[in-house]
Symmetry: none
Subunit: 225 residues, 2 copies
């Protein structure tokens, strides 16, 4: 899951990045509205956390412009303390939820998760493909009920593939959603991880759930292989 944080206060931006990264999100930070719009046009984010008070282009405008462009990425707006009057306006311009500063990180996470969930229109709590299941809450991966031990990075990749079951996902996309923005390694690292995932979730079970689509990346077999 890749999140864009548009926030000019360095301290806030840093702590958001740290916290969200710790939660397993890949995070990009933009320092003003203009930069935010540009990032959003370049990368397909899973959600955007948008401060209202921004240099150059303020939050409302960023939000409005995105929607005008037909970009419906969920937006969580951050407003200053006394944001009562602004609430209506914020939601009007197309934000999906808003949060007043200062806020508790747990709250932000909860809201963010609820946005991400809502988007996929009632995505089930556990991701599945045949007898392969992944539970984000317990961080457990199972095949045929048997628990499989995976590393954090393997978990993230599998989570992404399972939430796009049946679609061919390019290595580039995986790099962008699972790794941090400033990661500059090549696509080979994805191959390495897919390889090690296969060794854990497919080979021991004689399955083939992660299918290589030459030139187009990988695809999770809806039947689980």
């Amino acid at each position: 899951m890749r999140i864009l944080v548009v926030e000019d206060e360095v301290a806030m931006a840093q702590s958001l990045r740290a916290g969200l990264t710790a939660e397993g999100f890949a995070v990009d930070v933009a320092g003003d509205g203009e930069e935010g719009l540009w990032y959003a046009s370049e990368v397909d984010y899973d959600a955007i956390i948008l401060d209202l008070m921004l240099p150059k282009v303020n939050g409302y405008k960023v939000c409005a412009q995105l929607r005008e462009r037909d970009d419906w990425t969920p937006i969580l707006m951050l407003t200053a303390k006394d944001g009562h009057l602004d609430e209506a306006e914020g939601l009007d311009t197309g934000a999906d939820d808003y949060l007043t500063k200062p806020f508790n990180f747990v709250v932000l996470l909860a809201r963010l998760r609820s946005l991400l969930r809502r988007r996929g229109s009632a995505r089930p709590a556990t991701l599945e493909a045949g007898d392969l299941t992944l539970d984000p809450a317990t961080h457990e991966v199972r095949r045929d009920g048997r628990l499989i031990d995976v590393t954090p990075r393997e978990f993230s990749i599998l989570e992404y593939l399972l939430s796009h079951v049946g679609e061919a996902v390019t290595k580039q996309t995986l790099l962008e959603h699972v790794w941090d923005f400033d990661f500059d390694g090549g696509p080979n690292i994805v191959e390495v991880y897919v390889g090690s995932l296969r060794k854990k979730i497919d080979i021991p079970f004689g399955r083939q759930s992660i299918v290589t689509v030459r030139g187009a990346g990988y695809k999770m077999d809806p039947s689980g292989g």
Copy 2:
């Protein structure tokens, strides 16, 4: 367990904070109704202690507004001496219990505990995972019936883990639910406490109930290890 106290009398607020903190709760204090509503919207409290007589927005209104927002956090209302007439109204607006001033702290604790218990829809009075039990009322931790001596902080952590059995709980989450709002230490302190908890509840019994989930925190084994 994190409690919000909405109370304008400084002395009362202080003593509630002191007493509840001593019992291992994390406590936030709001000085008036408006502030209380704001806190409640930002943080996911386990319960709210709400004075009736408040500046700006009184207790009834706070209560009503919370329920209107679909916030069903248990509320314990504090009313003035002659509160007979108010009782019905208080419960009507959505408070879960009420208490007339002056009251005994032990009584308040008992009511609060009963609220917290009730909330989880008949959550058992004692939290359990296999033969490991924790009784919030008596502050006792037992394994296989044998009493184990734990410090307040250790108790809080164990309580949180036991009330989220099976889920991976982030260190950040523990920091936010077990420590006070303004604590700014790093996650290492959680590691230290988990270490000392393990030395008390796991190692002497040859068990492993608190499982480390690399990159995602800790998880209480439902079977108790």
